[in-house]
Symmetry: D2
Subunit: 333 residues, 4 copies
């Protein structure tokens, strides 16, 4: 960490600051230039409060030279991580094709969708049981019952399952769930992250709507610092001024996260765009950008002609996406 002091800082002030920093077990290397004094802080700077340091009158600027995340950092873990979920591996060339309905609605529905997406090439089943909704009056999911139905679909198809947790008090219900999802709105629910860090379950951690990649990696670090290294990062669109799509899918996040971290990165084009028609081009683009997996909403509701235009794909549309994705994966091999 580098701290640049303002010109006009007195030797006395510098000494004061250096003493304070050394008190935090840091080594301080002082470099006095013609115009500015630069302090190089050496040691475990992850504990230094940058905001406080920056706010000091004598400090012009503070800059981290090393990233504040360690366990998620590729520098200390050069090889891609592989995460195991049931029999499925994710990362380092192993690809996760996660598909399923937005919400679990019935046993018939979830088994039918699971069977269909498996036939097209999906290797993990998704389905929402606990649903975070902006409105308290909206459907909040089937909760524990939804998880039971997912487990039946897992039994029927052999697909490992992923579903979202909203509250650590429900953790017992996730005992047989293969991957626990942390949703975008809980990305900085630090207490939830810490508790999940005490489990050994794979965690699919979604990026928050207005969060930076560093913040996402710091949230991964929260989980890893408690001992759970099984993290799958997920880009699912960020909030921008564009209104044509629900969110804006940030595919450069895939390349950037691969530079910064060894953790696998999957992409959710369904939530990012909110439009069924855009899922296919964005799924292809995600794969071309190097994503380690996709997470795609598929419904199966032949009796409900109403839902044709929704964000979810039909099994036929999903099958088409799988084929396109495979062709691109082959071209890149």
């Amino acid at each position: 960490m580098i701290a640049v002091l303002k010109s006009g800082t007195t030797p006395d002030q510098v000494q004061h600051l250096v003493a304070w920093l050394k008190n935090m077990s840091l080594d301080v290397h002082i470099s006095e230039g013609a115009e500015v004094t630069v302090l190089g802080l050496i040691g475990d700077t992850s504990r230094v409060d940058m905001d406080l340091l920056k706010s000091l009158d004598m400090v012009e600027t503070v800059k981290r030279v090393s990233e504040p995340f360690k366990q998620a950092n590729r520098k200390f873990h050069p090889n891609d991580s592989i995460i195991n979920a049931g029999d499925v591996r994710i990362g380092r060339g192993y690809f996760a094709m996660i598909a399923g309905p937005c919400s679990v609605e019935s046993e018939e529905q979830i088994i039918e969708v699971a069977t269909a997406v498996k036939a097209s090439g999906a290797n993990i089943l998704r389905g929402g049981a606990f649903k975070p909704r902006t409105s308290p009056y909206a459907f909040q999911g089937m909760k524990g019952e939804g998880i039971q139905l997912l487990l039946k679909a897992k039994q029927a198809t052999g697909l490992p399952i992923v579903t979202e947790i909203m509250n650590i008090s429900t953790l017992d219900l996730f005992a047989d769930v293969d991957i626990i999802q942390v949703g975008a709105r809980n990305m900085q629910n630090f207490d939830l992250l810490k508790e999940l860090g005490k489990t050994r379950k794979p965690i699919l951690l979604k990026r928050g709507l207005a969060n930076t990649l560093q913040e996402l990696l710091m949230s991964a670090e929260y989980i890893m610092s408690e001992g759970n290294e099984n993290i799958i990062l997920c880009e699912r669109g960020i909030r921008t001024f564009e209104t044509y799509t629900r969110n804006t899918l940030d595919l450069s996040a895939v390349a950037a996260l691969h530079e910064l971290s060894h953790l696998p990165v999957v992409v959710d084009p369904s939530h990012a765009t909110g439009k069924a028609k855009m899922v296919s081009p964005m799924a292809c683009a995600a794969v071309a950008a190097g994503a380690d997996g996709l997470m795609i909403e598929v419904h199966n509701n032949p009796s409900c002609a109403l839902c044709d235009g929704a964000q979810s794909l039909t099994p036929q549309q999903f099958d088409d996406v799988c084929q396109r994705v495979n062709r691109i994966r082959e071209a890149m091999a």
Copy 2:
């Protein structure tokens, strides 16, 4: 709620959709125009999934005519609410001057600051015990012990106290806390909101970093829908592209929230700007915009010359802010 159908929608499709809507206990008023068909949905539209409706192929656009929040809505509660915290009232002309340190550090510190801010005119004491930090390696607060020290300061000064909760499992520790704060990062931690809705404690609900005012009011609605109507809204700065200030204080939120809701609105200029020098002008501006209160960081650390430039004010600086604010409040009376 209004749904505009695309031109070219067949009578059969319209009938299908209307049947589906009526199935949700809504009355549907159909108006066929030369170019478009408009459906007026009457009844409890707060349960309608707008995103699903919008995503249907035949639907051009969906627009709420009434806001999706009810209990927080000024339309159904025209008078300003007053929230009681200990002996202090907030709203409808009653002003909350909340002050105190960012974190509780020691008994001596918190009592000294509390005594000083009370002397300058503060009527509520703030202090962080559970601290949400981006990094798992940063100081996470004194936790339960911090709350104990706040209670000592309350006893010493008579000031009611406000402090942040991060996890509902710690609720017991807040039994004697007067106002429970929900931080910006937990604004959409819906399970936490619901649990706080089951208490009758005043809740200070901070706006999320990238959340709209409607989303803030929907989060208030989560708490109110469980029976707790004691909500104080707090504008604390939103994330923008500007980097000179830590966040961007959105003071039009004060006027807008007063139009939309009956709940009191307080403003936190310390977190919003991250700069001690800017607290005074922004505190004055907030009051001129009609804020029902301010929340200001004040520290008391005479031995630590380092901290002079921090976001926190010294007691002397806080005293000066109080005087300026009072002059503006008088000018507006």
Copy 3:
């Protein structure tokens, strides 16, 4: 266009508003519902000031049913447009591989780069002569002399050239330029757009840093409304909170613009990411998303070891990108 009136609007007020709208040569279809009155405006609503209409006391909301752009609109021009630049065609399956240095620096440089990128598969040469810089003290480009050097490179290689205009008063200098670029900061320089609309030159129109797709299409419409239909849209990254990349490349813009408009869409991964290492994955992703072309910075400065890490690719790196892109294009065919 649909205008929803507030409940409580008097018949007299409705009549007043309808008369005002009819005065603008619009037909108005009134539909009175139990709770709201909806006006359907039929005719040339592109002239209606939505903001004014929205701001009327009696109006709850206003919604366009048809997009405010016409000539750029796919609805009125279902087939993809093809733009001709010299012998090169862009759109409807014809792919533009635009490459060249950020700035033209010397005759030797531009000819060397042009020759190299042509050998790798580029079919259009880019190079900045007029450079929009945030600082008045930064290098502002070689201006007219730069265009002369581009023309020499065009003569040497046969590649058509694209370069940026900043001021209509320099238009004469662009007589032999094949494609005129409008930069992101001039996307809403409406007077410049109108003047370019009076030419018949192909215009490469870059999306502004914080502009929506509709705003981009309205800027295309400015050019087209003056008679010039030769527009190439360019996604070059938008401003978000992410700082790891210079901007955030919005690849869903490719799919969305293809839905909304018949104009070709090219993608500039160099400016979007600001990092040479990320150009290759983002170029591949853009192609997989359906882009009609790429615009990539390539420099050739073997004597300057300093520049190796810059946003520009070396000719060798560019050659590698071309091969990857071709493999993906083949997989998609």
Copy 4:
């Protein structure tokens, strides 16, 4: 300027970089630490291309220690500037109350509004003649004729006038205009800025919709670098995710610009909020934040009952705002 080099940079590379920097007439002070090497660049660093420097492989980070703007910088000009427009002074305690209609519509209209706002305390008249509109089909203003009408209103009332320029080719029409406005969308139209820098007219420079304060000051620097020091900065709202207001008024910009620059800062609450009801609280807040002036839309259209809710105030509402603003200014004196 400070450049921090990556660990592992070889002495040879360092020497290479230092030679390149010295070639730009910079002194370079090298400080080698245990982990990093820091270069201090001394001299006219405003000419250094930070983006290029940052993009070098060996460079970890680059940080300006001094701002890249000079003439607009308070450090080199500690006293507040005063700008003269006709007989009116702006800055250093002199307050500009700018009012008038959005667009000039007729001689009767502009003289009536001018007379009314002068009676309430306005000292400068605003009115749009050239109107930047998102749509080419929307009303583009009365142009030259509009300026003639403004001049008649100036003659009738003695108020100096401010109106927007969109194109330097129309400069002759502005010969008798007292203040030339540069709109938000032209804030980075650098060629326009340079040309205005060659005049000596006061320029009211509006902040762009998604621009930082530093970018605003760099645009002021463009004008000043050509010799025109008569700049009035204007905060008029930035684009955020909030949709209740048209833009988000950033009042901390007032305090921040006063810290960074000696130029006066006026605030436009009309465009920022887009709602007449919010103009009064935001005008008061702007004054409490220390603004040097306000710019408020006032119309006078008694025959058009339709316009009552618009963003523009009636003369009566404006009179009320003037009184409130005066009371706050007195309280702050």
